[in-house]
Symmetry: D3
Subunit: 156 residues, 6 copies
C-alpha cells in the first residue's frame, strides 16, 4: 500500500507532524551521455570559458529549493546544505552528477537530491543542445540516505 494515498485511494500529503526531527542526508546521482565533441566543448569551457558545469551546478542547487513546488506531495523543508558535483567520464562520453542534500527535520531529502540532479542534467542538455540534440540522461537514482525512522539506506 502506498503511503501517499488514504484508504479510499485519495492522494494526500503524508502527515509528518508526529515524526521526530533528525539530521537527514540524501545523495543522488545521474549522468548525461553525449557525442565526443560535445564533451570536449564542456571540458574546454570548464577550464577557460563557457562554464557549462558551473552554471548547471547553480541550476541544480536552485532547483533543489523548488522541490516542494514541483513534486505535488513533497513537504516544504528548510534545506541546510546542498552540493552538486560533476565528474567527467571520458570513456563513456558522459558527465556524471552527484548531489547531496541535508536538513534537520521530520522528513527526508531524497527528492531534493534527485531534483538537483535532474535540473543540473537538464541545464547541461539545454546549453549543449544546439550542437547535440541526441544527448541522453540516465542512471538517475538515490545512492544513499540517512536519518529518520527508516534509518540508513544504500544502493546496492
Amino acid at each position: 500500500m502506498l503511503t501517499h494515498f488514504n484508504q479510499t485511494g485519495d492522494a494526500h500529503m503524508v502527515d509528518v507532524g508526529a515524526k521526530t526531527s533528525t539530521a537527514r542526508i540524501a545523495i543522488a546521482t545521474g549522468k548525461i551521455t553525449m557525442l565526443p565533441n560535445t564533451l570536449d566543448l564542456i571540458i574546454a569551457g570548464n577550464h577557460k570559458k563557457g562554464d557549462v558545469l558551473g552554471i548547471a551546478r547553480i541550476a541544480g542547487i536552485m532547483g533543489a529549493k523548488q522541490t516542494s513546488s514541483l513534486i505535488p506531495l513533497c513537504h516544504p523543508i528548510n534545506l541546510t546544505n546542498v552540493t552538486v558535483d560533476f565528474e567527467i567520464l571520458l570513456d563513456e562520453y558522459s558527465v556524471r552528477c552527484v548531489s547531496k542534500a541535508q536538513t534537520i527535520g521530520p522528513t527526508g531529502v531524497e527528492m531534493e537530491a534527485l531534483t538537483a540532479v535532474q535540473v543540473a542534467l537538464l541545464t547541461i542538455y539545454d546549453m549543449c543542445k544546439a550542437v547535440d540534440r541526441g544527448m541522453m540522461m540516465g542512471d538517475i537514482k538515490l545512492l544513499e540516505k540517512s536519518g529518520g525512522k527508516s534509518g540508513d539506506w544504500k544502493a546496492v
Copy 2:
C-alpha cells in the same frame, strides 16, 4: 562553440528577437525502472485507487510551465499545449513517459518537453519511494522536434 556563451565565455540568454515565429513541437521520453511489486502497485492504483500516474501526469504538465524558472538560460514562452502519457513496460518493470510540448514562437520547446518528463518521473519516484528506494530513471531524451530555423529532427 556553444551558443549560450559570448566571445569572452560569459553566459547569456540567446537573443531570439530576430527569429521568426513558427509552430514548434517537441516530444521527449524517459522511463523509471522498479521492483516488480512496485509496478504492480502502480498498475493496481491506475485501475482502482491510488492513481500514481494520474498525479505524475499533472505534475509533469505543471512542471513544463516552470521550465524557464528552473533552467537558467531558457526563454519564458507561452505553451499552447502539453501532454504527458505513460506506458507500462511489463517485461522491463518500468513505466515509460512520453511528453509533447507545443508553442508558436521564436524559440523551441525541447526543454519544456524534457522537463515535463523529468518532473513526472520524479513524482512517480516520490510516491513509490516508501516501498522501493532503488528505482532508477533513465533513457531520458528528445524523440523529435519540428519548427524553427533548424527544422525537423528525429532521434535515430
Copy 3:
C-alpha cells in the same frame, strides 16, 4: 465530454495552437461577509490607516499573474491588463470584489479574473482574521467574458 481529457480519460492541456488570437476580456466577482464591527475596521482603514482593501487589491493583481502556476491545466498567458475593485455592501456587512482581466491571445482569461478575486478575498480574510474568524466568502463567479470562438457570455 470535458475538453481537458482525451479519449482515454487522461488530462492534458488543451491545444490552443490553432486558435486565432483575439482580444479577450473576463470579469469575475465575489464577496466576503463579516461581523459589522469588522466591516467598520475595514472602512476606517480605507480612509485613514490600515488600508486592507489597498493591500487586497495588490494581492489580487499579483495573484492573477500566478494563475497558470496554480491551476494545473491553465495556459501561461501575457496579461495586458488586470483591475481589482471593491464595493462596500453596508446592509450585507460584506465587501464585494470585481476583477477584470484582459489579454490578446488564443485563450481566455476567465481563470485569471477568478483567481484575482479569490486571492483578494483571501487577503481580506487574512488581515481581519484576528478579530473575526467566522468571515465567509461566496458568490464567486464569472460575470461576463468576450473574445474567442465561443464569443460573448454574460451571467444571467
Copy 4:
C-alpha cells in the same frame, strides 16, 4: 485594531518570533454549485475517466504550499500535512471541498487550509467551464482551528 498594521497604519508581517511553537490544525470548507449535467460529468469521471476531483485535489494541496507567496503578510511555514476531500451534494448540484492543514510552529495554518479550498474549487471551475460557465463558488470559510495562544475555535 487590526494586527497587520502598526500605529501609523502601515502594513507589516506580524512578529511571531516570541510565540511558542505548538501543533496547529485548521480545517476549511467551500463548495461549487453547477448545472445538473455538469455534476453528472464530474461523477462519471470520478469513477471511470476524466478525474476532475483527483486533479483538483492535487491542485489544492500544491496551492496550500504557495500560500505565503500569494497572501502578502502570511509567514512562510513548513506544512506537515495537507488533505483535500470532496463530497458530492446531489440535491444541491454541488461539490463540497474540505481541506485540513497542519504544522508545528509559532503561527496558524488557517490561510493554508482556505487557500487549498480556493485553488481546488478554481480547478474544478477550470476543467468544467467549457460546458458550464455559470458555476458559482461559495460557503468558503474556516470550520475549525486548534493550537496557538488563541486556542481552539469552531464555526457555529
Copy 5:
C-alpha cells in the same frame, strides 16, 4: 577565502546544519532619488490617492519571502517578521527605505532585509517611471544584524 566555494572552487550552499538556532535580526536600508516633481506626486499619493509607498511596502515584504528563490546560495528560511518603512528626504528629493527581517534559526537574514529594500525601491521606480525615467537607487547596505556565531554587527 569565500565560504560559498569548496577547495576546488566550486560553489555550494554553506552547510548550516551544525549551527545553533538563535534569534536573528537584520536591518537594511537604501534610497531612491528623483525629480522634485516626482517626489511631490509620491507625497501627494501617500496622503490621498495613488499610494506608491503602500504598494512598495507590500512588494518589499513579499520580495523578502522570495529571497531564497532569487539568490542562488541562500538557504530557505521561515521569516518570523518583516517590516518595510519609508522616510521622505525632502532636501535630497529622495525616499529612504529601511527594512527589518527576523527569524529564529541557524542562518542570518541579511539577504532577506536587503532583498526587501531592493524590491521596494524597484517598485517605486516602476510606478513613477512614466514621469521620471532618470531616478537612481543607491546607498543600499546592511545597517546592522544580530544573532548567530558572528554576533552583532553595525555599519560604521
Copy 6:
C-alpha cells in the same frame, strides 16, 4: 498623475492591449563597492576558482525572468534576450554591472533590466558578506531604452 492609478487613486495594471508590438530594449546599470581585499578575492575567483561573477550573472538573468512576479504592477512578458556583464572598477573598489533586456511586445523592459542588476548585485553581496558586511550598492539606474510609443531615452 501616475499611470498606475485610476481616477479614484486605486492601483491597477496599466492596460497595454491597444499598444502596438515593437522591439524593446532597455539597458540598466549599478555597482557594488567593497573593501580592497574583497575585490581581490572576486578578481582571483574570476580567473581561477570561486567564480562570484559567473554566479551573479546567472542569478541576474534568472532574476529578470521573475520581474513580473516581484513587481506588483509589471506585465508578464516573454523576454527574447537578457545579458548581464560586469566590469571591475579598480580605483573605486567596485564591481559595475550592466544588464540589457529585450522583448518584442506592447510594453517595455526597463524593470527587467533593473531587476537583473539588483539580483546580480545582491548575489555578489551574498557571496562576499562573510568577509565584508559593509559593501554598498548604488548608482542603480536606467542607462537607455528604445522602442514603444515614448521612443528612445538615454540617461544624461
